[in-house]
């Protein structure tokens, strides 16, 4: 038991770790480290409590299953922490920080706190204390019972952003703002594959946030900010970067979902032109079962079946539009895909 919990504790610690590669103001590093040091002693008692709860909930299960539940819950806490808010002022500060042009110019490590420290380092010195105070409050909520997170917006920010890029490349619509060179260099010069796009996600999100803030004159609507927060929230897909094989086959069970024992169903909205040509596919609902706690939404695992579902939706035959749909030029269908582990 102790060894299993040690490993989970180390995993949590890694998400708060401040590696030496990131160059930041030493004062900021010290302040963030002090904040982490204050929180670290809380982890083990919380893990012990979760293990007890898992044992009570499933007394017949084996230890490995109980530890799996604790591990899943610890992972989910990382997503909950990143989606959480310390209030409207904190949100406004976060928006400004994440819209900084160099917000993504940081080592791609596994520490979520490092990524935050990087943007705080770019922010004006006068705002630093407010950032740290808010973050201390959010970290202090780690492992506590929190309000249910707001529903995941559909379409996602990534869907909206990549659609804008694709429409620009196809010459169908102009972008809402000029792209930064990191994006135009990589996206407009050469055909970009899925892996390329994944690597550019952070830069694209930053560009979208800066564009949104500019258009909203600094006062971003809540629902739009929620799209940004979900897009930035670490989850299993971004964490391991291997939700599906590189070329997802419609009939394959996603390997990461299989190894994490995630099953359930996903609803996809498919939009086609009247002639049957596929325009877009969007996830509109997810009902998943995970090894984590049953009283929490499995934020960390929620997108594990997305890519496989989209691949299945793309592979479906176009079907027949109705006469009204032919007149309107578009038709939409909602399709539910079930994933059951055998």
């Amino acid at each position: 038991v102790a060894a299993g919990l040690d490993r989970i504790q180390d995993g949590v610690r890694a998400t708060w770790q401040l590696g030496p590669e990131l160059q930041v103001d030493p004062d900021l590093r010290r302040a963030v480290q002090a904040m982490v040091d204050k929180q670290l002693p809380r982890i083990r008692p919380i893990l012990n409590r979760w293990l007890d709860e898992a044992r009570r909930a499933q007394p017949e299960a084996e230890l490995s299953q109980h530890l799996g539940t604790v591990w899943a819950r610890a992972n989910n806490e990382m997503s909950m922490w990143q989606l959480d808010s310390a209030g409207p002022e904190h949100d406004r500060r976060q928006q400004k920080a994440f819209a900084h042009p160099r917000a993504c110019d940081a080592p791609n490590g596994k520490s979520a706190l490092e990524a935050l420290m990087h943007v705080w380092n770019l922010a004006p010195l006068s705002e630093r204390k407010a950032y740290l105070d808010s973050e201390a409050e959010l970290l202090g909520r780690w492992g506590t019972v929190r309000a249910a997170p707001p529903a995941r917006p559909s379409p996602s920010l990534d869907d909206v952003a990549w659609r804008a890029i694709d429409e620009q490349i196809a010459g169908k619509a102009a972008l809402p703002a000029p792209l930064t060179p990191v994006l135009s260099w990589n996206l407009l010069g050469l055909p970009s594959d899925r892996a390329t796009r994944k690597k550019l996600n952070c830069a694209l999100q930053t560009w979208m946030l800066a564009t949104d803030l500019n258009q909203a004159k600094g006062d971003l609507p809540d629902e739009r900010w929620l799209m940004h927060k979900y897009a930035r929230m670490p989850d299993a897909v971004s964490w391991w970067d291997q939700a599906t094989p590189t070329s997802p086959q419609a009939d394959e069970y996603p390997s990461l979902a299989r190894s994490l024992v995630v099953e359930g169903s996903v609803t996809v909205k498919i939009t086609r032109q009247a002639d049957g040509k596929l325009l877009r596919t969007e996830i509109i609902r997810r009902d998943l079962k995970t090894p984590g706690p049953k009283d929490q939404r499995p934020l960390f695992y929620e997108t594990l079946l997305d890519e496989a579902s989209l691949a299945k939706a793309t592979a479906l035959p176009p079907g027949q539009p109705t006469q009204d749909e032919i007149k309107s030029g578009l038709y939409m269908r909602q399709v539910n895909f079930s994933f059951v582990l055998k």
Binding site: P20, E21, L22, Q23, H100, P101, R102, C104, D105, A106, P107, N108, H118, Q168, I169, A177, P178, L179, T180, P181, V182, S184, W185, N186, L188, G189, L190, S192, A195, T196, K199, L200, C202, A203
Partner: protein, 336 residues
């Protein structure tokens, strides 16, 4: 590191960053200044570009080897403006739009206007390429001229703000070369820029480039420009700029024939190099001096410098085929 990563991007792989934020290994100060400018533009951090530009415009902003930080800053920017080798028009169109948006939001910033004019120039050069005029399709030449004119037109419209910085004049020298200005016009622009900031090495370089035979100048005109700058800078720099400018002329056009096809004087260049390595005894300068000594066939001087260089030559300053040139010079110097 960033060079490598951008080179990878050229080959079709993606680079989404993370080099600059990491701890720098033992890298040359020159690379750091250049890469930082490139990185800031790469991510679109114009605020920081403004701060750096303002800082490098101060007098005596040089690296430990005596290189101008302002020139290195501009070289870094040019790497992003020039775009990937196989880039499409869309890349340059985005650069035009991005820099224009920044200039409109910051109408009093000289750098903002310079950057937009620079984007237009780079857009034009993307059509032309860097081959001889007879290798360029007429349509591409027409697009090149159109964007060059657009850059000059933009500079004229924003002259009051743009020309508050010597960077505006450096940009004009580059645009003028693309537009085929006559030498008197270059002289006037360079001198106006130097009246604003006589320490801006970019003006010396821009004026010298325009005087090269390949751009319509001549060996005599090259010498006139170099003599002019050497005189202006003599009080502060001795004959350093005489040597350095002939080294640039050698790199850009005369190569191994610099002492036969141009009016370069070795005794004077030698005096300039002595001054240079006295003030900035960096390996890169000793290597540059040795390369020039080889071109001038000054065997005793070359031998003495090769001894100082030892086993670690800086091949980047030994001409276009640096490794072979160094080897050949070394063999010649040690031959009986």
């Amino acid at each position: 590191m960033k060079h490598l990563l951008m080179a990878i991007a050229l080959c079709g792989l993606v680079w989404a960053g993370n080099a600059s934020a990491q701890a720098p290994a033992a890298r040359a100060e020159e690379d750091l200044v250049q890469d930082e400018a490139m990185n800031l533009l790469w991510w679109g951090d114009f605020d920081e570009l403004e701060r750096r530009h303002a800082s490098y415009q101060q007098v005596d902003q040089r690296t430990g080897a005596g290189r101008s930080k302002l020139v290195l800053f501009r070289t870094g920017l040019a790497q992003v403006f020039d775009g990937p080798d196989n880039s499409k028009d869309a890349y340059f169109a985005q650069m035009d739009a991005l820099t224009l948006a920044w200039a409109r939001a910051h109408p009093r910033s000289a750098l903002a206007h310079v950057l937009h004019a620079q984007a237009l120039l780079a857009h034009g050069w993307s059509y032309r390429g860097h081959g001889y005029a007879n290798t360029i399709p007429p349509e591409a030449l027409s697009d090149f001229k159109r964007y060059t004119q657009a850059a000059l037109q933009y500079a004229a419209e924003h002259q009051a703000d743009m020309m508050r910085s010597s960077s505006g004049y450096v940009m004009l020298l580059e645009a003028g070369r693309a537009a085929g200005w006559d030498l008197d016009r270059f002289r006037a622009v360079a001198q106006a820029g130097m009246a604003l900031n006589d320490d801006d090495e970019g003006l010396y370089r821009g004026w010298l480039a325009a005087a090269l035979p390949k751009w319509g100048g001549s060996a005599a005109e090259v010498d006139r420009v170099i003599q002019d700058i050497a005189k202006r800078t003599a009080a502060k720099h001795g004959d350093i700029y005489y040597s350095r400018m002939y080294a640039w002329a050698s790199d850009w056009e005369f190569h191994h024939q610099v002492f036969s096809d141009s009016r370069a004087s070795w005794p004077r260049a030698k005096a300039g190099y002595e001054e240079l390595i006295k003030r900035y005894p960096a390996a890169v300068n000793i290597n540059g001096y040795a390369h020039f000594a080889c071109l001038a066939k000054d065997k005793p001087q070359l031998l003495a410098l090769l001894q100082r260089i030892g086993e670690a030559p800086v091949l980047s300053v030994w001409g276009t085929n640096g490794a072979r040139t160094y080897e050949t010079c070394q063999r010649w110097a040690t031959a009986p």
